[in-house]
């Protein structure tokens, strides 16, 4: 076979090639949509055309066998058209209504979860964890699997007060929109980097290692041709380890998971907001991280019981106050919850208004 030479800078394929005919015809002219049932959206065009989208959760890490299997399904019911969402779901695009129920039946028979629409929990956005990351404080896929198994009924049902967006990042780099999620599961390192003085100068640019530290905790150590860490200033971000493998941050005993809550990205109702610390540390306990699963379920259950219809986790907490969030969830409030990083001041209460 003749060697194929790759052409550079051709850019991605034009999405227009991949749009089903019903989408081309109704492009920019959709009139409204309804959620027919969990996981099934119906979009109606000004023309009266109806497009059904069936949303299916994926494990994000998928084999080509899985891709080929969903392609077969899309060929059978969707004329070969499908798309993905920003949260790792597949959407089968059904333009012939007669295909809807047979598609749902096949998906059910084969065990594909259909859901993630309206007042439900969508798929967990997450990072690579021990599958592929070099700075993880925890695994990603394993915790996600355990949490989704436990909260499965909230993906396939729409019985929550509002939508629930959970995300996981396996270290403090917080890849993914973890920092603005209803519930964020975050891998945390808790011990300073251990310096390999012998190899540091050989493998790393010392000025870059020093500059990488957000708290200026890293100083040159000319005697060792290495660096020193002021451990009191280190907040274990692992930024130096990203720059330099001789600053080992992974710690099998002390790494673990923190839980943050109440963030959102949508502008609907309230402004987008950050997730804030609920639980500073839970242990890494593979394969199913029972402490993390239990902690997430507890927060979800208290929210379901206490929130008004339409309130996302952060809106609920805003109404009842953080003091009541800690009381109702039974989560202890500690010195770890009080911010002492750069932008801490606006989080301190400057009023005598609070709840007991």
């Amino acid at each position: 076979m003749a060697k194929v030479m790759g052409q550079t800078d051709i850019g991605p394929p034009d999405f227009r090639k991949f749009l089903p005919p019903i989408v081309k015809e109704n492009y920019g002219k959709w009139q409204y949509h309804e959620i027919v049932k969990p996981g099934v959206l119906k979009h109606v065009g000004e023309s009266g055309d109806e497009l059904y989208s069936v949303r299916v959760g994926s494990p994000r890490l998928v084999s080509i066998d899985w891709i080929r299997a969903i392609c077969e399904i899309a060929d059978r019911y969707c004329d070969g058209y499908l798309r993905f969402t920003s949260r790792h779901n597949v959407e089968f695009l059904v333009s012939n209504k007669d295909n809807l129920e047979p598609l749902l039946a096949e998906l059910k028979e084969k065990g594909y979860p259909v859901g993630g629409t309206g007042n439900s929990m969508s798929n967990i956005v997450h990072t690579q964890g021990w599958i592929h990351c070099h700075t993880p404080a925890t695994d990603a896929s394993g915790i996600v699997k355990a949490v989704m198994d436990d909260l499965y009924e909230h993906f396939t049902g729409m019985d929550l007060p509002a939508k629930l967006r959970v995300a996981l990042a396996c270290c403090l780099n917080m890849c993914g929109a973890v920092h603005c999620s209803d519930i964020a599961i975050l891998g945390v390192h808790r011990t300073p980097p251990r310096i390999d003085h012998e190899n540091l100068a050989k493998t790393c640019e010392i000025p870059n290692v020093i500059a990488a530290c957000p708290t200026a905790a890293i100083r040159p150590d000319p005697k060792n041709k290495s660096v020193k860490v002021n451990e009191e200033r280190c907040m274990y971000c692992g930024n130096c380890y990203t720059m330099c493998p001789s600053m080992e941050i992974l710690d099998p005993v002390n790494d673990g998971v923190a839980i943050l809550v109440g963030g959102k990205v949508s502008n609907a109702r309230t402004a987008p907001s950050f997730s804030r610390l609920a639980i500073p540390f839970l242990p890494n306990n593979p394969p199913r991280w029972p402490e993390v699963v239990e902690a997430v379920r507890n927060i979800v259950e208290v929210w379901i019981k206490d929130a008004r219809k339409g309130e996302r986790v952060g809106e609920w907490i805003e109404r009842i106050g953080w003091e009541n969030f800690f009381k109702k969830t039974g989560i202890p409030f500690t010195d770890k919850h009080i911010d002492d990083f750069i932008f801490s001041v606006p989080t301190f209460r400057t009023t005598t208004q609070f709840r007991w």
Partner: protein
């Protein structure tokens, strides 16, 4: 891995109703040694409670500085199949639309050239081909390219722009965000493929303020669809929602952040005080048949969004409250060029644009890129008098 290694903890994660990534690794492992060793390595990580990957070396394809993430295990003797296990980022089509033929073309290449494992999709939006050897990178790219695919960004470059479903299937889309994403991705191929900046730069484009791609949290430059005139209300459809049982006051108007919209239960009508509306989308989301976005449409441009590392997380800040979004998007592209030039000139290594703006001051940024200050940029004006006066503020310099 010659002998089949026992993986009891991985096996445990095949149980339960949610689809299992372990099952996926096993499917790939049946055909591919690297995937088989990945499974073993994962079991080892679960035993050790620590990751087993080393830092990426410099690997890639000819002509590009990004798009491939180098990865090596620190246990190559035990798991030779993942001695090299690099990731290839394939630039997704706008809105993640595919045909089955297109997806199969990727599968066929990846079956031959890699582990057979993928992520659909990665955090930035690319299709991630997970795990291959250095020698496979160039042939894999050549074959991808011959099928019409290209690589996305990585490192200190423009990362692959991504966008929501937009006008292809959403009545809320305020402009053709799919076209804009495709257009700027093609315009800035050099910036995507050849890292040359202080750090990464992400662009995400949301068709409306619901921001389904999390642009305000996850991108340095957030483009969020909006409109300037009033909501369009269809009172007949309001009545239909009411008669169908929607509690409009409890579920819709009570949540209006500015009390711009109120419900007259007797007449079954919505009343709008247009000047108070902040276009949050709530009433539209709840009653899409009855309330629609206005007609004077465009986008808000915000800057600086990023995750926590290094200085703290930022949500993007408004710098242009309203810009028309029509091809060829010249006003936006001119602005991008000015922003990148200013960042390149003043930014330190590994300093995101948001951190630079915080360090130098928003005023200096706005003057540097030539954007006029408007009240939509801030929640409130400053409470201190420490103004950095400019020479041109004084009469003698005018």
């Amino acid at each position: 891995m010659s002998e089949k290694r026992k993986t009891p903890m991985m096996d445990e994660l095949e149980k339960g109703p949610w689809p299992s990534f372990v099952t996926e690794i096993k499917k790939a492992a049946a055909k591919n040694e690297s995937a088989a060793d990945l499974l073993g390595l994962m079991e080892r990580s679960y035993e050790d409670k620590v990751g087993h990957w080393k830092h990426g070396g410099i690997v890639g394809v000819r002509g590009y500085g990004g798009g491939v993430i180098g990865r090596y295990t620190n246990l190559p003797e035990e798991f030779p199949g993942v001695t090299e296990f690099h990731t290839i980022r394939v630039n997704q089509p706008s809105g993640w639309f595919y045909t089955t033929d297109a997806l199969r073309s990727i599968c066929d290449i990846w079956e031959k050239r890699g582990s057979g494992l993928t992520n659909l999709h990665g955090s930035t939006g690319d299709m991630i081909l997970l795990g291959t050897q250095t020698e496979q990178l160039q042939p894999c790219f050549d074959e991808l390219s011959s099928q019409g695919w290209d690589l996305g960004g990585s490192g200190s470059d423009l990362r692959t722009p991504s966008t929501c479903v937009g006008p292809a299937r959403c009545e809320f889309a305020c402009f053709d965000n799919l076209d804009l994403c495709h257009d700027i991705t093609n315009t800035y191929q050099d910036e995507i493929h050849r890292p040359m900046w202080p750090y990464k730069f992400k662009i995400k484009i949301a068709g409306c303020p619901n921001d389904c791609v999390a642009s305000i949290a996850r991108s340095d430059l957030s483009i969020i669809g909006t409109w300037r005139d009033n909501l369009i209300i269809n009172q007949e459809e309001v009545k239909n929602y009411a008669n169908a049982g929607l509690n409009i006051r409890d579920e819709v108007t009570d949540f209006c952040p500015t009390k711009a919209i109120t419900y007259d239960a007797e007449k079954q009508e919505l009343n709008l005080k247009g000047e108070d509306c902040v276009r949050c989308m709530h009433c539209i989301n709840k009653m899409p048949k009855a309330v629609k976005i206005g007609k004077e449409r465009g986008a808000s441009i915000l800057i600086g969004g990023k995750a926590t590392i290094v200085q703290s997380a930022f949500l993007s800040w408004v710098i242009v409250p309203f810009m028309k979004m029509e091809p060829p998007y010249q006003e936006l592209k001119d602005l991008l060029d000015r922003i990148w030039e200013w960042w390149d000139e003043h930014g330190k290594m590994r300093e995101r644009i948001g951190e630079l703006i915080y360090r130098k001051g928003m005023g200096e940024f706005l003057r540097g890129v030539g954007l006029p200050p408007v009240p939509q940029m801030v929640y409130q004006p400053r409470a201190n008098p420490y103004i950095f006066w400019q020479p041109e503020d004084f009469e003698e310099n005018k």
